[in-house]
């Protein structure tokens, strides 16, 4: 019995499907442990530091949920940051300049995000335009419209937004007969909740629904998926639409985070999102990837700037170089796993009987 269990474990670990995700988690843990050893005295080991990884990167994570799906279909979306920035602009301009209800602004922004996503999806699906080009056009459009609305950064002054941004759930401990906030204070806010909820929703969609499995099939071999009778076009449209939704949601989260809207906000943010997904083990050629991997990809990418801040002497662009190096490492790992020994075709095991 025991042996069978350990066999199962070996099987699980060596299954190339899971290997990338395990690598991400492993490297994150190693780096985090290294950080604790090096900067534990400065407070790196505190819960606050860990929770700030979530708080500061929730919007990237929310967007990465949609990006993961797009990447699994074998596509790419370069418009996510622009759409998020447009969302922020809608909220800022709508509430502060036009004095509209923030809920209305958010609903409108989400609607626009989904429609933009569907539009780009239609270009990709029905007109066979490469995702790279279609979403580049979407990015230009979103940024351009954003600049047409305003070229200035607009700060958001709205009660409800303040309330939403200010909502925090503190970690408490029981001490001296009453519950007190732990020191230094650690909390989660609405963005973190959104991030985690989206990761869970994403996981359920991908693993537990037919639609989710179709996403993998389309990324694995679109032609085959079509011949197997799967709704390829519908799947792709839905994925891009969902990604548009995630981008807009990320835009809301970012607006809550910085409480302003700016046409140049999140420049280059799409690369942050893509590299988080890649570091999380999503295969850029499609067909392979897990939400939990993306989750740790976001954390792994987030822990690096955090470490640099704790170090104090390194300049911030080292963060980018290390991110670049990590991407290189993971892509190299993917090459080894996918094309190396582990994924080689085995002989026909049943042949000799």
């Amino acid at each position: 019995m025991d042996k069978k269990k350990s066999n199962k474990l070996v099987n699980f670990v060596t299954n190339p499907k899971y290997l990338m995700v395990l690598a991400t988690i492993g490297i994150f843990l190693v780096i985090y442990a290294a950080g604790i050893i090096m900067y534990g005295d400065k407070g790196f080991a505190k819960l606050r530091t860990f929770m700030m990884l979530f708080v500061d990167n929730a919007y990237i994570g929310i967007s990465a949920v949609g990006m993961t799906m797009v990447l699994i279909t074998g596509g790419i979306d370069l418009s996510v940051a622009a759409v998020a920035s447009l969302t922020g602009m809608f909220i800022a301009y709508g509430t502060t300049v036009l004095g509209l209800d923030p809920v209305l602004c958010m609903a409108f922004a989400i609607l626009v995000g989904v429609l933009l996503g569907l539009g780009m999806g239609a270009l990709v699906t029905y007109l066979k335009i490469p995702p790279f080009v279609a979403t580049l056009t979407g990015m230009f459009l979103a940024r351009g419209v954003c600049s047409l609305i305003s070229r200035e950064s607009i700060s958001i002054n709205n009660e409800l937004i303040d309330k939403m941004a200010g909502w925090k759930l503190y970690f408490m401990k029981y001490s001296g007969g009453e519950w007190v906030k732990i020191k230094p204070v650690a909390y989660i806010n609405l963005n973190v909740v959104l991030f985690i909820v989206m990761i869970i929703i994403g996981t359920i969609i991908l693993q537990k629904t037919r639609f989710g499995r179709n996403v993998y099939a389309v990324g694995g071999n679109e032609q085959s998926a079509r011949l197997m009778g799967l709704p390829v076009d519908k799947t792709k449209m839905m994925v891009y639409g969902f990604n548009g939704f995630c981008s807009a949601l990320a835009g809301i989260a970012y607006a809550l985070y910085v409480k302003s809207g700016w046409n140049l906000a999140l420049q280059g943010g799409e690369l942050d999102v893509i590299s988080a997904a890649v570091i999380g083990g999503v295969l850029l050629s499609g067909g392979v990837g897990y939400m939990i991997g993306t989750f740790f990809g976001v954390l792994l990418k987030a822990v690096i700037p955090s470490l640099i801040t704790f170090n104090g002497t390194l300049s911030s662009w080292w963060g980018k170089i290390i991110t670049g190096a990590l991407v290189l490492l993971f892509v190299a790992l993917q090459q080894i796993v996918m094309h190396g020994k582990l994924f080689k075709k085995k002989g026909t095991p049943h042949k000799k009987e």
């Binding site: 299954n15 499609g286 002989g347 095991p349």
Partner: protein
């Protein structure tokens, strides 16, 4: 069940073809490449739109709009190329699109259990939770058949299901087909293997150039009659192939001494004379293709010594082989052969251009002449040389690849399954061409799964088994049984 009728008047791809299938029948669909078999199937499965005619299933007219729709109507298909997603698990490939749902969620346990059961029927015992890409082509083929069979289909279409299976696997497939037949399923069976046609089918329908040639009962037609109805040529011509005569003074062309790539093929020794046709027989995965790829430098040879025309050589990449006047038509035409978006002319000129190097481009005139010469010589069916190669039929693509290598005027030509998936007529033409080239002094290594064509053409035959050379036979007086005994491991050693 009344059967199916299709008519396509006005369309030349299929011109008013009728076809009917009875319940519980295996009906073979035969014809050369481009005869319209695939078009017919594509109409049945809704991939192609029909311009005229109608399809009836159990008396009701149906109009499949896409494969999914056809499947819902009860028409299940296994296409010639494996159409699965190899990033997904074996089980998922069988059930995707129709996964059992329990409490709103996909029931993975059920999927895995039922897949395991299903594959047991094919006597395949594998871990169904592993990605499909980890398994061999043969297993992938079986999985795609399993998928098609498991759908509650009334009609099952098998398009060349056996082309990548070995004999044992074919037998298992046939067992399953008999089962299904007994359950009342109608099976349309497309294949190039005539023996299998006679073994399995009840009736045969022959198409040629989009026209219906005839419907026969399998027990009322001979093989020869069938072949002649398929290609409409004189039979004598086809089987009148004489092995190239061996010149006694021929020089040694190739001398391989214990060559190998660890893990793939090991310890291969053989030699080949000028003008000799050396056949390589063996099962799929026995190391035939691997040996060819090693000789041509597609995979790097790691052990042993190789002499070409008496001179020791090192072949690390295809260019080295080309420089030693070796040429190689690979097995997987689509993956390793054709450059789909380039024209026939460019495809033919490519290898010669690669040898001449980048800085010595061939003029357009040179390329045109070269292309025209080979289009004529190999009778490649195309309006002109500027057509994209991907628009040609399989047999014609193969001829273009052959032309590409003939243009380099090689001393040694390696042909890996050159006749696979092409029609009888083109097959005979390619065989004749091989023999003619041997007469002219070229050495040819000929790899094939079809024993009769190996025996018919080869001067000597090397039999491979499990990545090693299992035996060597003279082509003159060997029978299929001899080769099969070596493959089966009953007999070892050199009997040259």
């Amino acid at each position: 069940m009344k059967g199916i009728e299709i008519q396509f008047p006005g369309v030349k791809a299929l011109d008013g073809v009728d076809f009917s299938l009875r319940r519980g029948e295996v009906h073979a669909l035969l014809g050369e490449n481009g005869a319209g078999k695939s078009t017919l199937i594509k109409c049945l499965t809704g991939v192609n739109k029909m311009d005229a005619g109608k399809i009836e299933l159990e008396g009701k007219e149906i109009r499949p709009t896409d494969p999914k729709n056809a499947m819902d109507l009860g028409i299940s298909t296994v296409f010639q190329e494996i159409n699965l997603c190899d990033n997904l698990s074996v089980a998922e490939n069988i059930f995707i699109g129709r996964q059992p749902i329990r409490r709103g969620q996909i029931d993975w346990k059920e999927i895995n259990r039922r897949s395991q059961e299903l594959l047991e029927r094919f006597k395949i015992h594998i871990d169904v939770t592993r990605p499909l890409s980890q398994y061999s082509t043969a297993i992938q083929q079986m999985v795609s058949i399993a998928r098609a069979v498991d759908v509650d289909a009334k009609v099952l279409i098998l398009d060349e299901p056996t082309s990548s299976l070995d004999n044992e696997e074919v037998k298992r497939l046939f067992d399953v087909m008999r089962d299904l037949k007994a359950q009342g399923m109608g099976i349309i069976f497309i294949t190039h293997f005539l023996d299998q046609v006679f073994e399995m089918s009840d009736r045969l329908t022959v198409l040629r150039n989009g026209h219906l040639i005839g419907v026969y009962n399998a027990n009322e037609i001979t093989k020869l009659e069938l072949v002649s109805s398929m290609i409409g040529k004189d039979l004598d011509e086809i089987f009148d192939l004489k092995r190239a005569a061996q010149k006694p003074d021929a020089k040694m062309m190739l001398d391989a001494d214990h060559i190998g790539v660890p893990g793939k093929v090991e310890d291969i020794s053989f030699n080949q004379k000028q003008g000799e046709l050396l056949g390589f027989a063996g099962l799929l995965g026995s190391g035939r293709t691997e040996t060819a790829e090693m000789l041509f430098g597609v995979t790097k040879m790691q052990n042993g010594d190789l002499k070409v025309a008496g001179i020791p050589v090192k072949i690390g990449e295809p260019m080295d082989a080309i420089n030693h006047k070796i040429a190689f038509c690979p097995e997987d035409r689509k993956r390793d052969g054709i450059i789909g978006d380039l024209t026939i002319r460019e495809n033919i000129a490519l290898a010669l251009q690669a040898r001449r190097g980048m800085m010595k481009p061939m003029s357009r005139k040179e390329q045109d002449e070269l292309a025209d010469k080979y289009i004529k010589m190999l009778s490649i069916a195309t309006p002109d040389a500027e057509k994209k190669i991907k628009e040609l039929s399989g047999g014609n693509q193969q001829k273009v690849i052959l032309a590409r290598w003939m243009a380099t005027e090689p001393d040694l030509l390696i042909l890996d399954e050159p006749t696979r998936g092409i029609d009888v007529g083109a097959k005979a033409e390619i065989q004749r061409l091989m023999l003619q080239m041997c007469e002219e002094g070229m050495s040819i290594i000929f790899i094939s799964s079809e024993l009769d064509e190996i025996i018919r053409c080869s001067n000597r035959i090397i039999v491979m088994r499990d990545g090693k050379k299992a035996g060597e036979l003279s082509g003159e007086n060997c029978t299929q049984a001899d080769i099969m005994r070596i493959i089966a491991g009953e007999k070892d050693g050199e009997t040259a």
